[in-house]
Symmetry: C2
Subunit: 317 residues, 2 copies
């Protein structure tokens, strides 16, 4: 989803870091839809963990690589081997292909990491120097990717930066069965005229940014001057908005009215509540903020971004 939105933004801008884009290659497990663009766009179906796939993926020697590929959290937990293959082996194969290119190739590599590299218990606001304590295989795989990225960058094989994305809301599309899905669906579904189920208490607090902000993080990361600005610590917790489910609903009421907000049905689910209790609630993302990364300052802004970007400005009042 973020990849699709990043692609759309790059196509629209036609430029990255102030330079015109000449060619873009989209690589995914299934052939991605090629966007209409003023520059050349290649598409490839490829499993980076398969022999030779990573070497082929960088054959065109792109200046900038956005590495977003991942088996998501729930699937990586359900299928241990698949998660390690995609998120761990695939990432390492990509880094190795770059290292072994052997022609002085040293691209900028923006690695999409996740706040899943952290695990409870947490301090009130997780600081930039909090330790990596993933409580899922997905978080472990992302944390290992971060460590490899830092070492390959330090050794001069790649110019890497890792961005730990907050939970992205409002996710477009159909409701999915991810435990975090309700954070989005309680906004998205009512705005589309549908009922949504809220499985947790309104006091639940979490860390958010919009898909638009996430794309902004990736683009801003691509423009930073690597070691000069980052030093040895190339993986950064992105800024976000800390708010409760109750504050989400209050924002929805302000932006779209009580009729829309009334489409949220409370249906407590102990299992979901237990999972969510292990998630971080708040970060002090000082370094990324100092480096110019920006998230929304209010949940109202997150909802408005969704209405503009996904609903063409129209609400099912």
């Amino acid at each position: 989803m973020i990849g699709r939105k990043l692609t759309a933004r790059l196509v629209r801008d036609g430029a990255l870091n102030g330079h015109g884009i000449h060619r873009m290659t989209l690589t995914d497990i299934i052939v991605p839809d090629p966007p209409g663009a003023r520059f050349a766009v290649g598409t490839e179906a490829s499993d980076l963990s398969a022999p030779g796939a990573a070497v082929r993926a960088i054959a065109g020697r792109p200046d900038v690589i956005f590495h977003l590929a991942a088996i998501v959290s729930g699937e990586a937990e359900a299928d241990f081997e698949k998660g390690y293959r995609a998120n761990f082996a695939g990432t390492r194969e990509l880094f190795e292909a770059i290292r072994l290119a052997g022609d002085g190739y040293r691209p900028k590599l923006v690695f999409a990491s996740s706040i899943a590299v952290f695990g409870a218990p947490f301090p009130d606001a997780v600081p930039d120097d909090f330790f990596l304590t993933p409580l899922t295989s997905y978080g472990t795989q992302k944390a290992i990717g971060e460590l490899l990225l830092a070492d390959y960058t330090r050794r001069g094989f790649v110019d890497g930066i890792g961005v730990r994305l907050p939970t992205i809301v409002v996710r477009p599309g159909l409701p999915n069965r991810a435990a975090s899905g309700f954070f989005s669906s309680i906004i998205r579904e009512p705005l589309a005229g549908h009922e949504a189920v809220l499985p947790v208490d309104e006091s639940v607090r979490h860390w958010f940014a919009s898909p638009r902000a996430a794309v902004g993080f990736l683009l801003h990361a691509a423009g930073l001057a690597g070691a000069k600005e980052l030093g040895a610590r190339v993986n950064l917790t992105m800024p976000g908005l800390c708010c409760t489910v109750g504050e989400e609903i209050a924002a929805l009421t302000r932006v779209a009215g009580t009729n829309v907000a009334g489409r949220i049905r409370r249906e407590p689910d102990e299992a979901v509540a237990r999972i969510v209790a292990g998630w971080p609630q708040n970060f002090d993302a000082r370094r990324a903020t100092a480096l110019g990364f920006r998230a929304e300052a209010s949940f109202d802004a997150i909802i408005r971004a969704h209405i503009e970007d996904e609903l063409g400005g129209r609400i099912a009042g």
Copy 2:
């Protein structure tokens, strides 16, 4: 070195965790010397990263595995591929062999990690929740081992515990070219009647434990009741002694006299000083201490352990 001392201790004790030892297998890149023991001892030359080697290494289904194997820091930095093969691929192959055993096998696995998983800048005393910021490939490989150990333990494939060893002094044997070598050689060489070179200022502060304490950490780790005592955070910074080079020398003077301490020649080396400046100086190893791990309380005790264990009580006064 630690492996050899651990083996000697297990042979002497004949027991581990209160149970008699029936069989011990020593695995190393070159065939290890078999110690004389009252129980069966097997020895194997094996590269864990080679196909099938890890499966063979656990064929006897040991109840307890001490995984110390490593290409050391300097060599892992000089030879990128060799370091990743031994410290990263070898470790993962071992964990995979255990996971795939398929017969309910779930050994206790004690993983020797290192304070090299941390990198400067540091707070005054590095807390247990300080982030993993290795500044060497060796530290990166150890940090990845810790993350895998935690995930494999959480998933129930192994009963893992990682112990981050302090810098071990006094290392026996000949001086080596490791940047940290002088911490040991300024004690070991004068005690043996030889001159030693001190390349840094006496104000340099670092974090130490004796080889005897290190063996104690590994044995104590093997006896902890896994998840019940550790929770999800199975990797622990070991306690140690924070002291300066000047305090080392003062201890040597107290234990062995001014004549012995007079064999230290000051020969400042900017390159060594720069490397050492990036190392941690002090830790607040609260969790490990609460779990019963114990290091020496004074450098005098570290020197005395060396005199007893390596010099048969004799000093070249």
